[in-house]
Amino acid sequence: MKYAYFPGCSAESTAQDQHISTMEVAKALGIELIELKGWTCCGSTPAHHTDKMISLALPAANLLMAKKTGLDMVVFCAACYNRMKVANHEIKSNPTIRKEVAEALGEDYDGSVQVLHFTEVLIKKLGIKKLQESFTHTLDGLKVANYYGCLLVRPADVTNFDDPENPTLLDSLVTIMGGESIEWPHKVECCGGGFALTRTDIVLELSHSIIEMAELSGAQCMSVACPMCQINLDMRQGDINKSKGTKHQLPIVYITQLLGLCLGIPASKLGMEKCVISPKPIIDLVKKAV
């Protein structure tokens, strides 16, 4: 299984742990992720806030680079995933847009590269059986609130990731790992996304809602699949406590970090020391599978 891997800008900065854990899990499962040479920023939210052409051409540049490798593209960052999928969708369905993007890039791109989220590769390509066979450790009933956020699941007809109101892909991964995926209503509520610096007040409000609901629903930790969500929910938990007078202490970990632990990879190789809210209670609960 070979893919063109698009790490995304935060993989080298604020989400190095996401990148590290993804590469470790892929290596352990025999999935070859070949980093797209010379990849550039997808534009994320700032691009589509500013200009339509830029917001489609920036991801299209990378899709074009991927097309030349002949491989499908794998992404982990939910924002990058969303922008790639939107770019493909718009280029495929609108000839005027395709032409404008081609003018911007200096080359034509037909929207045909398949884009997968890393978790989609695990469930839809690798398969549950191979995953189960590969796990050496179990989450041993750990109660996990699986948080999907916005950009993986919406717009549903563009991403086709999962159900946009009650997705279960990450839940099934946790179940296979021996954990308990709790039922909770805030799976796809917005955390505040890119407002981390500009409207921190919005992030604190929305992220507090999500953490509180997870705790009320019995979660011992939360799994995430988006670098922005992870930063908002983890790094700002202290700020939330200060501004709301709450005492949240919920570890927020990447799904790939949980997967890594169950594959027997030590926490130190999964970047878990980078979490602000200590994930040690979780790491200590992971047991060797019988």
């Binding site: 800008c9 935060s10 080298e12 900065s13 604020t14 190095q16 040479k37 010379g38 990849w39 550039t40 920023c41 534009g43 994320s44 939210t45 700032p46 691009a47 589509h48 806030h49 500013t50 200009d51 339509k52 052409m53 830029i54 051409a57 920036l58 540049a61 074009l64 680079m65 003018e103 911007a104 890039l105 200096g106 916005c150 950009l151 919406r154 717009p155 549903a156 946009p164 109101e165 796809v188 509520e189 917005c190 505040g192 996304g193 890119g194 407002f195 610096l197 500009t198 409207r199 921190t200 007040d201 919005i202 409000e205 929305l206 790094m235 020391e273 980078k274 602000v276």
Partner: protein, 184 residues
């Protein structure tokens, strides 16, 4: 005193501009409020998504550009996801932001356009974002120097932020893209 009237300039309603630029026809809105009820910032903002649609239909252009929702919208796409008439509200909001930038509408709390500009500037320079660069530019532009400085030592210690920009990007395409945008 002379008044210069530009030739060949037609006034276009905001409603028509939005339809032209985004392809979205908001006339089919039922005002069912599903968008506003799902909007995560609806309890925090004064204006709601369904209000924007109503104001577009009533040609209340100035009010739209002065409304807080334009730059408080989190682009979460919940509105589009739930609209029974499949109005792409997220695309409408993006289009209103684009027009708002061109018309140089009033700055709003948080100055999101400045953040976006700083972000895209680092992409233009390096092909990838450079967090410290964009944060510095944004903080200088908004004079919010002290906010979050308490996090910086922790982020450095945990290696949570890149100190230097990454120079491995192949800027062939991004150079063309930003040149085209400049010459538009």
């Amino acid at each position: 005193m002379s008044i210069i009237i530009k030739k060949n300039r037609q006034a276009e309603s905001l409603l028509a501009s939005v339809k032209k630029l985004s392809g979205v026809d908001v006339s089919v809105c039922l005002q069912c409020k599903k968008c506003s009820n799902g909007c995560p910032v609806s309890t925090l903002a004064i204006t709601r998504p369904s209000d924007i649609i109503k104001k577009l239909q009533l040609h209340m252009d100035e009010q739209i550009f002065n409304s807080d929702l334009i730059w408080m919208c989190a682009s979460c796409e919940t509105c589009f996801s739930r609209c029974p008439m499949k109005i792409d509200m997220a695309a409408v909001m993006d289009t209103l932001r684009h027009i708002s930038l061109k018309r140089k509408a009033l700055k709003q709390k948080g100055n999101v356009p400045l953040f976006n500009k700083s972000f895209l500037k680092t992409v233009q320079l390096f092909g990838r974002t450079y967090d410290l660069g964009m944060i510095a530019a944004y903080k200088m532009g908004t004079s919010t120097y002290l906010q979050d400085t308490n996090k910086f030592p922790m982020m450095l210690k945990k290696g949570k932020i890149a100190l230097l920009p990454n120079l491995k990007a192949d800027k062939t395409y991004t150079n063309r893209i930003f040149n085209k945008a400049k010459n538009k």
